[in-house]
Symmetry: C2
């Protein structure tokens, strides 16, 4: 296997800022990513929480270039590159590898439902072969409740056997611990990220790589604290705090709530914008969210100055 | 309302031919579309059965240009243009309107599930406003079992009120006759296509516009026969024949089976190719399909010479 360190730690599926015309606001994304890195948070840009599938491939390439050209460390980046159409996935994945990204997070093609493992194997296989870049490190993206196209254990096994270098790990967003555990047990060395910080401590104890979680957008330090201190005697108490905060956030639609929090604590109202088909929080939801955060003494240190 | 005739009749979601490198085979698609028109079949290119979401926007624009430049009547074309990302939908839709397509068939953005009617309304609204072309005629595409994002009656009503010219009709692929009937009753003048020829006769009796159906790719004349003769005393007997043929086809995975049939009756084996995540028929399935078609005396008259 080629010598490449696998990615690990806490990553945020970075929310994407939009201008008033709903075009992506690249300079603002660069600043946000710098702030996240300052909080020891890696950058899973173009994830579900990034509204990545609401962006064209051209827009994603422009944003990726703005980040790398803006000095953001590509080794800490794991952009989402999986689309429905093979040429789209190939184009963005090749670009990410060329720009030195530490990895890519790859959805299966998600329009057709009930597709076979053979079809999914061919999808990943075509991408790997067409990209043809030895630096490529793919983290599979298992998020059945959204994509409706699961990535099962036998598919992973087949991909690992065929492409032991390119297939680096997975993000398991199923929320199903039994599934995460099965992957940890069955595929030693495979980098398993949970899709929620609620499973972070268990994942670390089981030999996992970390988590890639929505709330890392606004609360990266607390999650990183559990990642670093998972062996400490009070690790469960730290984990309990994460869980409690996550539950509070889950009263709101996640993506607009994250963007509203970033808007409030960065001082830039435009952060609250979302692209259709998502809608921003109602005034009542916004007031409730901000009251909740204020009551907790919530802060995003350094963000307003970033 | 602007004077524009709405589309009607039988349309095929035209299967897309691929070269050995899996690139789209434009000249072959042009020939296929000419043949379909010769069978009185309209062209819902870039539909679900066309593997449209496995094609990039650039590929679809190239194919559309090849068709129109190749003399295929754009007024008989209803290309699928709905994608997850707003800029993709806008770009392809604007191009289709500019090239004179009779309409476009528009999926809602389908990555996020459980989105609100408000978010879907904004999606269609942004597309219509950004395209900004008075010629645009949108046929909504309701296919909940695949897209997992339904288009309900209250959303249709709101869109019709806001954009009475641009919102021309719907393809109802739910297979739920009660839903089709509710649209026919509630929205007079709205062009309702069923997604299966099994509901064609009922749709015509209820004032519908026709059907857009997978099997129209290979059996267009028989379906057109019911469309033309729905008032005839033996219409039900004709419909029963359609149903019987459709049931026979449904023993096979639909898209690879359609392509295999076109391969066989056009004499070009390459037609059988599909893009991942789909897979072609197994040898056993292929043999069973061809035996079935032969036993029926099935033919695609004129296709081999097209």
């Amino acid at each position: 296997m080629t010598e490449t360190r696998k990615m690990s730690g806490v990553l945020a599926p970075v929310v994407t800022p939009f201008r008033a015309d709903l075009g992506p606001d690249a300079p603002r994304l660069v600043r946000q990513c710098r702030w996240l890195l300052s909080q020891n948070c890696g950058l899973a840009v173009f994830g579900t929480n990034s509204e990545a599938n609401s962006l064209s491939v051209d827009e994603k390439i422009e944003l990726l270039d703005a980040l790398v050209d803006g000095g953001v460390d590509a080794a800490r980046m794991m952009p989402g590159t999986g689309a429905c159409a093979l040429p789209d996935t190939v184009r963005l994945t090749a670009h990410a590898a060329r720009r030195g990204c530490g990895g890519v997070l790859m959805l299966p093609p998600f329009y057709y439902k009930g597709v076979s493992d053979e079809g999914l194997f061919r999808s990943y296989s075509e991408v790997i072969q067409r990209v043809g870049d030895a630096r490529l490190r793919i983290y599979l993206y298992h998020i059945p409740q959204v994509a409706q196209v699961p990535i099962g254990l036998s598919l992973i096994e087949r991909l690992l056997n065929a492409y032991p270098d390119a297939i680096a790990g997975i993000k398991d967003s199923s929320g199903d611990w039994a599934n995460t555990e099965a992957m940890l047990n069955r595929f030693p060395g495979f980098a398993v990220f949970t899709g929620s910080e609620a499973l972070l401590l268990g994942n670390m104890r089981g030999g996992g790589a970390g988590c890639i979680s929505a709330t890392a957008n606004i609360s990266p330090a607390a999650i990183h604290d559990v990642f670093v201190n998972w062996r400490s005697p009070d690790a469960q108490a730290r984990q309990d705090k994460l869980n409690e905060f996550r539950q509070a956030m889950q009263k709101f639609p996640m993506i607009p709530a994250l963007k509203q929090a970033v808007a409030r604590y960065s001082g830039h109202d435009g952060w609250a914008r979302v692209r259709p088909p998502l809608v921003e929080l109602t005034e009542a939801q916004k007031a409730e969210l901000l009251a909740e955060l204020t009551a907790r003494g919530f802060a995003m240190p350094g963000l307003a100055a970033a």
